[in-house]
């Protein structure tokens, strides 16, 4: 009985708690926005902009320090885009695909590495912007728009031919694809990041010290992979729109 009593005492200390679906709401006119998402996304954007500015403030032929690091990042992004889009088409799409990768990556790692719990909000909690469905859907819809734009700019209305190109029988599936692509993109990212944060939160709730560390490391790995997957798939979709079925 005394052990159980001890357990209840332990439970009165809330080292961590679960909050899902609570938001720090801001009102703009008739609309509400999730303030915590924007606060963290601004930090992410700030980090990216400051790193970029620091890297490009004084560009040298022989790179060093931050310039070297950012050049490494840029080469990684360029390789990623080139692998998906091919040597001929990839250049104009580097900023879009690259920003997708950088934004998601820095968001995920920022959410996992920065102890947001230390900052108290009136409601909700600060976390990675990518664990909010609004963010991931926004990014996924932008990806859809991007590949439609790419297709139309390359082929004009001939872009629609790809829906009936091998055979018109597949038309429903081809149309369905345009819906499943953003859906899968957004839910994959959202689910992975939210699940990772929930698993860590639950483990921290159960065993506050050391035990969650491997899961946190795994979370970092997953976060990086998800950023890579999102950017790669965005590149693949744009490539598909540019190439069409015929080729």
């Amino acid at each position: 009985m005394e052990i159980l009593g001890g357990l209840t005492i332990l439970n009165t200390f809330t080292l961590a708690e679960l909050e899902v679906g609570e938001h720090f709401l801001w009102k703009i006119g008739n609309y509400t926005v999730h303030g915590q998402v924007f606060l963290v996304s601004w930090i992410v954007i700030g980090v990216l902009l400051i790193a970029s500015l620091a890297a490009t403030r004084n560009i040298q032929t022989v790179p060093g320090g931050i310039q070297n690091f950012m050049e490494y990042a840029l080469e990684f992004i360029r390789d990623l885009t080139r692998n998906q889009l091919g040597e001929k088409e990839y250049r104009p799409w580097v900023p879009f695909v690259g920003t997708l990768f950088l934004f998601i990556f820095v968001s995920n790692w920022g959410g996992a590495l920065i102890p947001w719990k230390l900052i108290k909000l009136p409601s909700g909690e600060l976390a990675a912007p990518t664990n909010d469905i609004n963010t991931t859907v926004a990014l996924a819809l932008l990806t859809s728009l991007a590949y439609f734009y790419a297709g139309f700019r390359k082929k004009g209305l001939g872009y629609f031919k790809k829906y009936i190109e091998p055979t018109p029988i597949l038309l429903p599936i081809a149309i369905l694809e345009d819906f499943t692509k953003p859906l899968s993109l957004s839910f994959r990212l959202f689910g992975n990041i939210l699940a990772d944060e929930l698993v860590v939160a639950v483990l921290v709730l159960l065993v506050p010290l050391f035990i969650p560390l491997p899961v946190m490391a795994l979370g970092l790995f997953t976060s990086a992979i998800q950023a890579l997957v999102f950017a790669t798939l965005a590149g693949a979709y744009i490539h598909e729109a540019l190439e069409g079925h015929g080729e």
């Binding site: 899902v20 679906g21 938001h23 703009i28 609309y31 509400t32 926005v33 999730h34 998402v37 924007f38 996304s41 954007i45 990216l48 902009l49 970029s52 500015l53 890297a55 490009t56 560009i59 032929t61 790179p63 310039q67 950012m70 050049e71 840029l74 080469e75 360029r78 580097v94 900023p95 879009f96 690259g98 920003t99 950088l102 934004f103 912007p129 909010d132 469905i133 609004n134 963010t135 859907v137 926004a138 990014l139 819809l141 932008l142 939210l194």
Partner: protein
Amino acid sequence: MFDFDATMPLMAVQFLLLTVLLNAVFYKPLTKALDERDAYIRNNKATAKDSIAKAESIVKEYEAQIAAARKESQSIVEKAQAEAREITAQKIAEAQQAVQTQKEQAAQEIQQQKETALATLEQQVDSLSRQILEKILGPELVK
């Protein structure tokens, strides 16, 4: 969990803004830097290749010159040797001829002296034989 609101369009706009900003401060300048470095390296490589080709052609030229010089020197040496051989042969022939003439002269002289000696000897034979006779037989008997 799935509560959509104005966050979504605002986030999309914000993301596009970030793309534009990063394009201006990150992608464009660094891509330019990378391309410039590529061009620089390519240029240097091309120049280096040119220099190597030039050096190789110079080496080839020098080698050709060296070969020509060697051939020339060899021909000079051969010519000199041939000349020397000719000169020695000539000298030897001359010397042999001179020796021959001297020999012939000497033989002639010897013959001549022999003849004169024999002539004088013949002349003296009578008087000598008379003297011998006188000595052996006495002067009275000889007359």
